[in-house]
Symmetry: C2
């Protein structure tokens, strides 16, 4: 693809991330960080593989107080991990139900347990632990004296603010997504099964340069759609449908996440009005996304416009979120999230509303917070509901 950024990151990026984590660890008294999830292992090592889709094998990264992270991984990943900046790569022949890395982890953690040290583990909001719970319980039971604390805040603080290299990758996949959405009027037509449009969209996203289009949801129904997370049906698109497609496409391990709405043949008045309200709510979100504002401010800026048509709040639970190595990341644009916006946060603005007879509409754009305010990464949606 023309103008694509370089794949991967220079070693310096991983060294900087690790040093920042270690500075935080020193402040909060953590002697190490034990990580089990794909984005975190990748964040500190650069290890990137779709093999995480197989749930069979656990993968671990231990970030010590000083020095490079240590990988504790299945042997099948050793060749790929050796291409990373890490030096200490410990492997076992996995799967091994009786000892899937537990002895190797115990070797690393036992000295910390002996000293009564504190180790960070992600236990908080929007996290899970990607190893069998039984193995975790067994590991901890064998490490009497070890103190476990929640490291979610530490990791969240690092990952929410992107480097320029990360922003370049997200901007690239957002541009690919924008070009793909621009082709939808040529792809979609009356009487086309909705499922076939999904397939065409995915093919076009790949042709436009996406590595993959793993996330694609949408809705289409007369006078508005009812649901924003369903897989497509075989129902043919029909005149009067309001159509929405929402994609999380990927380039080099970074996501875009935005949607577009269209009317097929003609648009009903209520849907046109809902579109206008959400378009202006997004404008309000863009204007409010200044360093120093909070996610709660962003929420209220958008909700203030949405309330013209729907003052109940929607089913979605928030009006946007962080974006990067995952389709959705911290923070959340919600009344309960007082996270302060800082430069180089990448965010979605995702106002939604309910209207009419159980209809829902969602708009979504992706931005990066800059000193002067929001910089759009997506090509802004048309100000009026486009008709195909």
């Amino acid at each position: 693809m023309t103008n694509a950024p370089a794949r991967g990151f220079p070693t310096e990026e991983f060294a900087t991330r690790t040093a920042r984590a270690q500075a935080e660890m020193a402040q909060t008294g953590m002697a190490g960080l034990l990580l089990t999830t794909e984005p975190e292992v990748r964040y500190f090592s650069g290890f990137q593989t779709l093999f995480w889709q197989s749930p069979t094998r656990p993968w671990f990264l231990f970030v010590p107080a000083t020095g490079k992270p240590i990988a504790v991984i299945p042997e099948i990943g050793a060749e790929l991990m050796r291409q990373s900046w890490l030096d200490d790569i410990r492997t076992w022949s996995a799967p091994a139900p009786k000892d899937d890395g537990i002895t190797l982890l115990t070797d690393i953690l036992a000295p910390f347990a002996g000293r009564g040290d504190t180790i960070g583990l992600m236990k908080g909001h929007e996290t899970h632990m990607r190893m069998p719970l039984g193995d975790y319980e067994r590991l901890i039971a064998g490490l009497g004296g070890l103190r476990i604390v929640d490291a979610t805040g530490l990791i969240r603080g690092l990952r929410m603010v992107k480097s320029e290299a990360e922003i370049d990758k997200i901007a690239h996949i957002c541009a690919i997504g924008s070009r793909t959405f621009a082709r939808v009027p040529e792809m979609a037509r009356e009487s086309q099964p909705f499922e076939d449009l999904f397939r065409a969209f995915r093919r076009e996203g790949l042709a436009q340069g996406a590595d993959d289009v793993p996330y694609l949801v949408g809705g289409a129904d007369t006078g508005g759609y009812h649901d924003v997370i369903s897989p497509p049906s075989r129902r043919p698109l029909a005149r009067g449908d309001i159509l929405m497609l929402d994609t999380g496409s990927v380039w080099d391990g970074y996501f875009c996440d935005f949607d577009r709405n269209w009317a097929i043949g003609q648009a009903d008045d209520l849907s046109r009005r809902a579109y206008d309200v959400l378009w202006r709510a997004t404008e309000a979100g863009i204007a409010a996304a200044l360093p120093g504002a909070t996610c709660r401010d962003l929420f209220h800026a958008m909700q203030g416009v949405i309330a013209e048509m729907d003052d109940q709040g929607g089913d979605v639970g928030r009006l946007g979120h962080g974006l990067g190595m995952q389709l959705t990341e911290w923070p959340s644009h919600a009344a309960w999230d007082t996270t302060e916006l800082v430069e180089n946060m990448v965010l979605t603005l995702e106002p939604s509303l309910s209207y009419g007879d159980g209809r829902i509409m969602v708009h979504e754009e992706n931005i990066v917070v800059r000193a002067g305010g929001a910089q759009l990464l997506t090509e802004r949606a048309a100000p009026e509901l486009p008709i195909i």
Copy 2:
């Protein structure tokens, strides 16, 4: 697509799955099952959405001793869950970091805790718990008296044996995968960046009818590849390369998982020999896949042939696995897995070997175990290394 099976399942399928689980629960003294992961929620409810890719919100299903499962899910999923066979759907406005379903789960579980009942949770091999560990600890701390046991064996026993409707879906995506691989000689060419072949393969898989091609890995290098889990590089394919592509494509939520090997322009003798050994190892696996044999038997049948060229065992850790709603499922064809094969298990046969200067080769086919032996779901690989 022509000849595609029906999407979804009749209600009877979910009722049967639930009744089987409840019969096992009665035998093992479980008063309920608490499930947190996508395949398990889908297995008992039919709830299918790509929205699980967002890590933000937890989703829960509780299977009681009698009656239909109870869904405890974010409000954003209510509309889709109401289309399932379930009656009792409890929702909250998620994300809500302070109470992401914990109060709703406590309402369900408190009576069991009061009686000192036993609840099953998946804690075993190839599982993880998809909710924040901190929320789980808080939930359990509030339910004094509740006994938690590992339900992995119960779920594993159910999911390993497929219904005919499930087999139809897997057979369909395997046929799509076979047609896609058949087109690779037209797609691949010397001097083509490997990354571009990946993109072409994904596009072809969609054109052949896949809903998506979420898993695609491979290798290509002179005289053999070194690694089987890497993303593609920009390295151009060159004469003398051995090329491998391995796909997990999806139709209606069910996977195929198999690979194919080719030589570009010409094949070196060692790679041709490795191919022949693995082709015959697969034949041995097919012949050994009889009801009553064990996974260990399958392993030894394949390893006996592989040993002609590599008696060390490879990096992969096993020679195949179960297949269905996940790219890899229980069981494992390994010396440590004594699972007995029964009719309607869907399995991969995946012999691999190391050879030459750090090269690896992998073959893979998908089968269903029938009374008379293995029935191939994939179109059998060519008996000799094909040259493009």
